[in-house]
């Protein structure tokens, strides 16, 4: 089986979720080729070998430094064909997922996103994917010869299995039509831990009373090396930026630890956090529904608990 893995980078560095995609492909067994598109550091590319890539391709055309969905899909479809790949693996993301749909359509491939574990190839090719926003799973058989699968965070364990790989330039044949969408500018939080990638998330709800109180959440997040999140009303009211909104209609997180402060635990919020390994809830109302979905809970006032928790974690380090 020839597996092509699309790896995404941010500010020249390969994303952790993309390293997981390489590890996933390696664990599937087969011949793994990784492809990076746009500006990525050389050492980062070579490093992909450690996670199981035999070969690394780099489409470094300057025009590809921005994530244009159509152009990326064109590059991947060509690489898939050139490499005679059977399966394309990528990490689901705001770029990866829409790109994967177009690639699958170009290649006439079976498509599955939100895949949570290695495919079962004992008879056919069956993947387990998360559905109903994390409330259930579907085992689906991918029946076309070519397959495109998007994986969820934590679908594969990251471990080093090899040595650095050599990098080959990949020449994509792109047309102007592939760039009919122009990215004019972007705004991005820098230096922060990104929510979808974070191992720990500290999230605040309406119980935090106002944006002026977020210092305590940020403080705790800093101590833990965590990303900050929030409930939907908090981003609706503009207390926090939209990309921090967790839940059914926002980011779905899958950290090791999710700490919810002053969030009631509405089912739509829980839909975004149900893939977390461990959930801690702090709420002043003992009846808050979030406690039912939590592993550990504290009934108490956020403004009292947050600084104490921050101190206790610092002390335990």
């Amino acid at each position: 089986m020839n597996i092509l893995v699309f790896v995404e980078s941010a500010e020249g560095k390969i994303k952790k979720t993309s390293l997981e995609a390489v590890a996933f492909a390696h664990a599937m067994g087969g011949n793994v080729t990784a492809i990076a598109i746009g500006q990525t550091e050389q050492a980062e590319l070579e490093n992909l070998g450690k996670y199981g890539a035999k070969k690394v391709l780099h489409a470094a055309d300057e025009k590809l430094n921005q994530g244009v969905i159509q152009a990326y899909a064109a590059v991947l479809a060509k690489a898939f064909q050139d490499e005679q790949a059977d399966v394309l693996v990528l990490a689901d993301s705001s770029l990866g997922t829409p790109v994967s749909a177009r690639v699958a359509a170009k290649l006439d491939a079976s498509l599955a996103s939100n895949v949570v574990q290695l495919p079962d190839t004992s008879s056919g090719f069956v993947v387990k994917r998360s559905i109903y926003t994390g409330k259930a799973f579907a085992n689906v058989s991918l029946t076309k010869p070519k397959k495109v699968i998007g994986i969820k965070k934590n679908a594969a364990e990251l471990k080093e299995v090899g040595s650095p790989a050599s990098v080959t330039a990949f020449q994509a044949s792109l047309s102007d039509a592939d760039f009919s969408t122009k990215i004019t500018s972007s705004e991005k939080a820098t230096g922060e831990v990104l929510l979808p990638e974070a191992n720990i998330v500290v999230s605040g709800g309406r119980g935090m009373k106002g944006p002026e109180h977020w210092g305590a959440i940020e403080e705790l997040a800093k101590t833990l090396g965590a990303a900050t999140g929030c409930s939907k009303p908090v981003s609706d009211m503009g207390w926090r930026p939209h990309h921090e909104h967790v839940g059914q209609t926002g980011v779905k997180v899958a950290p090791q630890l999710y700490i919810a402060i002053g969030i009631s635990g509405a089912i739509q919020h829980l839909a975004g956090v149900n893939s977390s390994k461990c959930i801690v809830v702090v709420n002043k109302d003992p009846e808050a529904p979030f406690f039912k979905a939590a592993d550990y809970g504290i009934v108490g006032d956020a403004f009292d608990i947050l600084p104490k928790l921050n101190d206790a974690i610092k002390a335990a380090k």
Partner: protein
């Protein structure tokens, strides 16, 4: 401007998910169906565009007759007419093929969808439709303005957003805060009853995915409560028991 808004008919976000027939069928017992929340944002933005620049809105659903109340709701919110492709929506490719076939016939300037359905969460239909029609597809879109033949959009990326420009026609998968959800008013509900709803048969496609079985996640264990004056214990548990610190 002609806008096509594609809506899915999905279980309400508060639904408890269960399966029947040896985990092969979704249990619709006691489940309320709604317009997909993301699709609802797409529709709301279409209605705003119609109010400001005089567009016509067609809503499209691929589904069986039981989806008609959901389609009527979209008409009540402000769509002008509707198409139902009479078929069970079995997978993203199938749904996209139906949408592409209808879109070719209708010649729309703008095709709006949700960023993803909330049943299968694929986030794929807009991309596949874009590819099938040879149009750009952009998702997840959080802002959409149109001036003449050009659209200015904002797309959410991890940790921020990017701004884009594209010429019509194109396909967009929408999410908040592109517009505020609209609640149908009495006049809308009355007029929706008589707005045209065309039922068409599906075009055939070869599907590439086949459902084997559904599965529910394992039940969560009981919560361990810790006293508010004993956060040290929480930290110790996170370290030694849960092993997440």
């Amino acid at each position: 401007m002609k806008i096509l808004v594609c809506i899915s008919h999905v279980p309400d976000t508060t639904s408890k998910i269960n399966f029947t027939d040896n985990n092969s069928k979704f249990d619709t017992n006691g489940v309320q169906f709604i317009i997909g929340p993301y699709d609802d944002y797409a529709l709301a933005r279409a209605v705003e565009l119609k109010e400001t620049s005089g567009a016509t809105i067609t809503v499209l659903n691929v589904g069986q007759a039981d989806t008609e109340p959901t389609i009527r709701k979209a008409l009540a919110i402000g769509a002008d007419d509707a198409i139902r492709v009479n078929a069970e929506p079995t997978d993203s490719f199938f749904v996209a093929s139906q949408i592409a076939a209808q879109a070719k016939e209708g010649g729309y300037d703008l095709i709006l969808m949700g960023r993803e359905s909330i049943d299968y969460n694929s986030g794929a239909v807009h991309g596949i439709v874009g590819e099938m029609l040879g149009m750009p597809s952009i998702s997840p879109v959080m802002k959409l303005d149109i001036e003449g033949n050009t659209a200015k959009l904002a797309r959410e990326i991890e940790g921020g957003k990017e701004y884009l420009e594209v010429n019509l026609p194109f396909v967009a998968g929408c999410q908040e805060p592109i517009a505020e959800w609209k609640i149908p008013n009495m006049r809308g509900i009355m007029s929706a009853r008589t707005k045209p709803l065309k039922v068409v048969e599906a075009v055939s496609t070869d599907s590439g995915v086949k459902l084997q079985q559904f599965e529910l996640p394992p039940a969560k264990g009981a919560v361990k409560m810790i006293a508010a004056d004993n956060v040290q214990e929480l930290v110790a548990l996170l370290k030694n028991e849960a092993k997440v610190l």
